[in-house]
Structure formats: structure tokens, C-alpha cells
């Protein structure tokens, strides 16, 4: 009897400790995000108020209003959506084709090419940036969308190819072979049979590609120059330098800049996690 109750007590203690740990984890993970959100709803005078308060005394949307009334700031969002959208589309199509070859064919250069794809994942962006700068100027696309769309493909493609190949490998080969036996080409097999079945894989790839493109900083910083071409991360960093410390507005920009990814994450959580773990699981 005594041992049972001691066991019970110990078990309760462990559960209590577990909940304490989970609560501490929650504060660690979410406090900065909560702080960002509520700061965006404070007026600028309240931001460093003592003692600090999480909730604003007076809720105000003035920071958001000032962003939405400033076309220069809205332009950052337009640019980011446009660049990330086009990069996602192109990446998915190009990666799908390559993944189809990887998954369905044996060919001599398969191994070297696969190695190239994997090692491209770990090439430092800063190493590529110096020649990119020269190339982009030489092509006459400095400070255009093309410069960003083209260079972003270098880091979106490797993931996309690995993710898509992994997905296609899960589809039975009899499916497309049936098309070939009926006299169809591999091209027909790809578009008529494989693509419709690959929607989950394509969504996972697209979501992750969008995230990578939306978050890119270094290339956007260096390969564009005019305010008209700046993306959200660069826009935020420039505002940070200019009107130093209108914190509520900076936080409102951050909230708006994180919103697309948060929404994507909440509606497509499963697909997000696939992309997130792809780098370390496959290879």
C-alpha cells in the first residue's frame, strides 16, 4: 500500500514538473511574438512605459493605418508577393520535371547531378552573391524583379527537387507504365497521371518554396536598389534605419510581414512540416 501511494505521489510530481516545463517553454517560445503583436497596437509613447505592460492601455490601430496609407510601404508587400509567387510557380514546375527524371529513370549522370543538388543546399549565399552581382549587372537586370526571381531559384530548387523526388517515389510505377503501354509518352504520363496524384507533394513544395522566397534577405538587399523594388524584409530594415524607433509601426510591419506565413502555416500545417524536415530526413 505504502509503495503504491509513494509511486502515485512521485508520478503526480513528475506530471506537475512536466506542466511547469511546458509552461516555461510556452513563455520562451511565444512571449516575443505576443510582445510584438501588442506593441503594434500601442501608441508610440506607451512602448517603454514602466512598469512594462503586455496589453496596451489604449488600443490603437494608428500604426496599421499609417502603413496602409503609405503606398511606398504597400509596395514592399506587392513586391514580396510577386517575387515569392513567381519563384514558387517556376520552382515547382522545374523541380517537378527533374524529380520525374530522378524518380522514374536510371541515367548515367543521375548520381553526379543528385550530388550537385544536395551540395547546393549548403553553399553559402554570400559566396554566390559576389559573382551574382557582376552577372546581374552584365545581364542588365540589376534592380529588377528578374534579378531576384532568377537568383532565388538557386536555393529553392534543391529543396524542391528533393521533396518532389521523395514524393514521386511513393507513387507506384505501374501507374505511368500503364500510360506507356497504351502508347502514350512519358510526357503524357507525367501530366495526366503523375501530376494529379502529386497534389499533396506539390503543395508541400510550393508552401516551403514560398517561405524561402518570402524570407530571403541577402540577395534582395544587394541586387535591388530603388525603393520600388524592395521586398518586405528589406523594407523593414530600411524603415528601421530611417525613422528610427517608431516601434509600433515597425512591429505592425512585422506582423503584416509574418501574416502570409502564419496563415499558410495554420491552414497547411501538415505540408509545412514536410518541407521543414525535408532537409534533414532526406538527402
Amino acid at each position: 500500500m505504502a509503495t503504491v501511494s509513494r509511486f502515485e505521489r512521485r508520478s503526480r510530481l513528475v506530471t506537475l514538473l512536466l506542466y511547469c516545463g511546458l509552461a516555461a517553454g510556452l513563455v520562451f517560445a511565444c512571449f516575443p511574438i505576443v510582445w510584438m503583436f501588442f506593441t503594434s497596437l500601442k501608441s508610440n509613447t506607451e512602448i517603454f512605459a514602466l512598469p512594462p505592460r503586455i496589453l496596451p492601455k489604449v488600443f490603437t490601430f494608428e500604426a496599421y493605418a499609417s502603413i496602409f496609407s503609405d503606398t511606398a510601404k504597400l509596395r514592399f508587400f506587392l513586391n514580396s508577393y510577386l517575387v515569392a509567387g513567381v519563384v514558387t510557380l517556376l520552382t515547382v514546375v522545374v523541380a517537378l520535371l527533374a524529380a520525374y527524371a530522378f524518380s522514374r529513370y536510371e541515367f548515367r549522370l543521375k548520381k553526379p547531378f543528385n550530388l550537385l543538388v544536395i551540395s547546393t543546399q549548403t553553399v553559402p549565399p554570400i559566396t554566390l552573391l559576389i559573382p551574382y552581382f557582376g552577372m546581374v549587372v552584365a545581364f542588365g537586370i540589376f534592380d529588377t524583379y528578374y534579378a531576384l526571381i532568377l537568383t532565388y531559384m538557386v536555393f529553392t530548387l534543391p529543396y524542391a527537387i528533393l521533396l518532389m523526388t521523395g514524393y514521386l517515389n511513393t507513387l507506384p510505377k505501374d501507374l505511368d507504365e500503364a500510360v506507356l503501354v497504351d502508347g502514350g509518352t512519358s510526357w503524357t504520363a507525367l501530366w495526366r497521371v503523375i501530376v494529379p496524384l502529386s497534389v499533396p507533394g506539390i503543395v508541400a513544395t510550393a508552401v516551403y518554396t514560398f517561405l524561402l522566397a518570402w524570407n530571403e534577405f541577402l540577395f534582395a538587399l544587394t541586387l535591388t536598389k530603388s525603393m520600388d523594388m524592395r521586398t518586405v524584409p528589406i523594407g523593414i530594415s530600411l524603415l528601421m534605419g530611417q525613422h528610427a524607433f517608431e516601434w509600433n509601426e515597425m512591429m505592425a510591419m512585422s506582423v503584416l510581414g509574418s501574416l502570409p506565413l502564419l496563415i499558410l502555416y495554420l491552414i497547411a500545417q501538415r505540408y509545412f512540416l514536410v518541407g521543414m524536415t525535408a532537409g534533414s530526413m532526406k538527402g
Binding site: L97, K173, L218
Partner: protein, 310 residues
């Protein structure tokens, strides 16, 4: 290979089979052609270019730059700022990886416990992943706000009498690199947590049953069952994370910019400043090549490890 067996001889004539076979040899190359051309344009050519720049004097700027062998490399390695940058980069990366493993694993173990209800587990998992969704620039400014000398962290620490003055986390050379590492730990652990959680759920139950029959308590089960089972996954992510963390740019650029003075100078920051603030493209290329070589040697281990695991 699989297709060759699928062609039923009755259905396809000899000539047709030959044409198909021929096309089968060419087809994969057509499918990979767009990616391969992009990799040539965006990877191989630039790599050759940056290696060449690193051996020239006045690359990009001078019309006919002189070939100077390894002078640029000698120059950066005799620059104390660059040597310090290597040290900072290693410190930052190693500490980040260690704490990512600790925090990620603890969260994964807590979430995986039978003691919490499923719905709560799902909600917490969503919330714990959140830091991973934020762009480096946004992470940087959130933490600049929180760690501002007048900010909330200092207010709390002073109220608790842990510190008695307003610590300038990012602008004092004593604290800057630690503050930066802390922020990076916050931003990066979810990757580990998610991957390890998936790994934990893949460990066969009977391993634990066998261990508990042998009289192993929770701690020994963790050390002798869980950790050995997770080891391949941990090594994989840790290597990748180390490589990526070494290349850190936006987080540092947006918090300290490498300062105060050079207290948080990293290899990527050094490279960027050399190229785009001082326009010394040859020096920058040399430093970029050093970072590339370190990254690729780590990648070699990563690929070797991946192959061994499979």
C-alpha cells in the same frame, strides 16, 4: 529500368520498341535540362568566377586585374578582424547547435509524453513551432525591442534585482555575441523539435518495454533507448544546422551589424562589408571562398553520414 520490363512485347512492334528505348535514354536528360542549366548558370559558373576573383588583384573594378596567386588569402589571414570573425562564427555556430539540440530535444520529449492530452499536445506543438516562421529581419527587430536598454527584459531583470543597471545587450561588446546567440537559439530550435518529435514517434514501443523489463528507469531508458535511436537524426540536423548557422547574415546585420567595433563580426558580415561597403571584391572573394571551403567540408561529412544512415 522499370519501364523496360513494362513493355509487353505483343503490344509494341520492334521498331517502336527501338524508338522508345532511344527516347528513354534521352528523356531523363530533357527532364533535368531546365534544372541543370539553372545550376550551371547559378552555381557552377559563379563558383568558378568567385574562385578566380579570389586570385586576382582588383577583381570586377579593374579592367584587367592582375593574377596574384594567394595574396588575398594571405592578406585576410593576417587581418585580425577576419581571424576574430572566424572565432565568433565558430562560437556562435557551436553554441547555437548545442542549445538547439538541448531545447529541441527537451520540447520534443515533453510533447511526446503520455501524461499530456492529445489536443493540448497539438496546440502546444503549433505554438512551439512559431519562432521558426518568422523572417530573420523580423526576429532581429523583435529582439531589439525586447532587449532594448529601456526594454521589457531589462525592466523585469531590474525588478527582480538580477541586474542593477540597464544592460545594453546588443551594444556592449561583452554581451553582444551572447545576446545574438541567444536570439538564434530561440529562432532555430523548432526545426529540431519537429524532426525529433517525428523520430520519437518512430521508436518501436517494444524497445521501451524490453528496457523496463530489464529494470531500466526513465533516465536509463532515455540514455540507452531514446538517445541512441535518435542519434542519426540528431547528427543529420546538427550538421546541416551548423553549416547554415555559420553562414548567418540577416540576423547579425540587423541587430549588431558586426559591432560594437568588431565584437560580433562573422565571416559573412566580413565578406559583405569587404565587397559592398569597401568594394574590395578580391578580398571579399577570398573570404567567401574560405567560408565555402569550410561549408563544403562539413557537407562532405553530412553526405557521408546520410549515406551511412540509409
Amino acid at each position: 529500368m522499370a519501364f523496360a520490363t513494362a513493355q509487353s512485347p505483343g503490344a509494341i512492334g520492334r521498331g517502336m520498341a527501338y524508338a522508345l528505348l532511344h527516347r528513354r535514354k534521352l528523356a531523363p536528360y530533357l527532364y533535368v535540362a531546365p534544372s541543370v542549366s539553372l545550376f550551371f548558370l547559378l552555381m557552377l559558373y559563379p563558383m568558378v568566377a568567385v574562385f578566380r576573383y579570389s586570385l586576382l588583384d582588383g577583381a570586377i573594378l579593374k579592367p584587367s586585374p592582375k593574377f596574384v596567386w594567394f595574396d588575398n588569402f594571405l592578406q585576410i589571414f593576417s587581418d585580425p578582424v577576419f581571424v576574430q570573425a572566424i572565432g565568433h562564427t565558430l562560437y556562435f555556430s557551436i553554441m547555437s547547435v548545442i542549445f538547439h539540440i538541448i531545447v529541441g530535444l527537451s520540447f520534443a520529449l515533453m510533447l511526446n509524453s503520455d501524461r499530456i492530452a492529445r489536443p493540448l499536445q497539438s496546440i502546444l506543438r503549433v505554438l512551439y513551432i512559431l519562432p521558426w516562421l518568422f523572417t530573420a529581419v523580423i526576429i532581429a527587430i523583435i529582439w531589439r525591442l525586447i532587449l532594448d536598454p529601456n526594454g521589457v527584459i531589462n525592466a523585469i531583470l531590474m525588478a527582480l534585482h538580477i541586474v542593477d543597471f540597464k544592460v545594453e545587450w546588443f551594444s556592449s561588446s561583452r554581451t553582444a555575441i551572447h545576446a545574438l546567440t541567444f536570439v538564434n537559439i530561440w529562432a532555430g530550435y523548432p526545426l529540431y523539435m519537429v524532426t525529433l518529435l517525428a523520430g520519437l514517434q518512430g521508436i518501436p514501443r517494444d524497445l521501451y518495454e524490453a528496457a523496463s523489463i530489464d529494470g531500466a528507469g526513465p533516465v536509463r531508458q532515455l540514455l540507452h533507448v531514446t538517445l541512441p535511436q535518435l542519434k542519426p537524426i540528431i547528427v543529420s540536423i546538427a550538421l546541416l544546422d551548423f553549416i547554415w548557422t555559420m553562414q548567418v547574415f540577416p540576423l547579425v546585420w540587423m541587430t549588431t551589424g558586426g559591432g560594437p567595433i568588431h565584437a560580433t563580426e562573422m565571416m559573412s558580415i566580413y565578406t559583405y562589408k569587404a565587397a559592398f561597403s569597401r568594394f574590395q571584391f578580391s578580398i571579399a572573394s577570398a573570404s567567401a571562398v574560405v567560408l565555402f571551403i569550410i561549408s563544403m567540408s562539413m557537407t562532405y561529412f553530412y553526405i557521408k553520414h546520410q549515406k551511412a544512415v540509409r
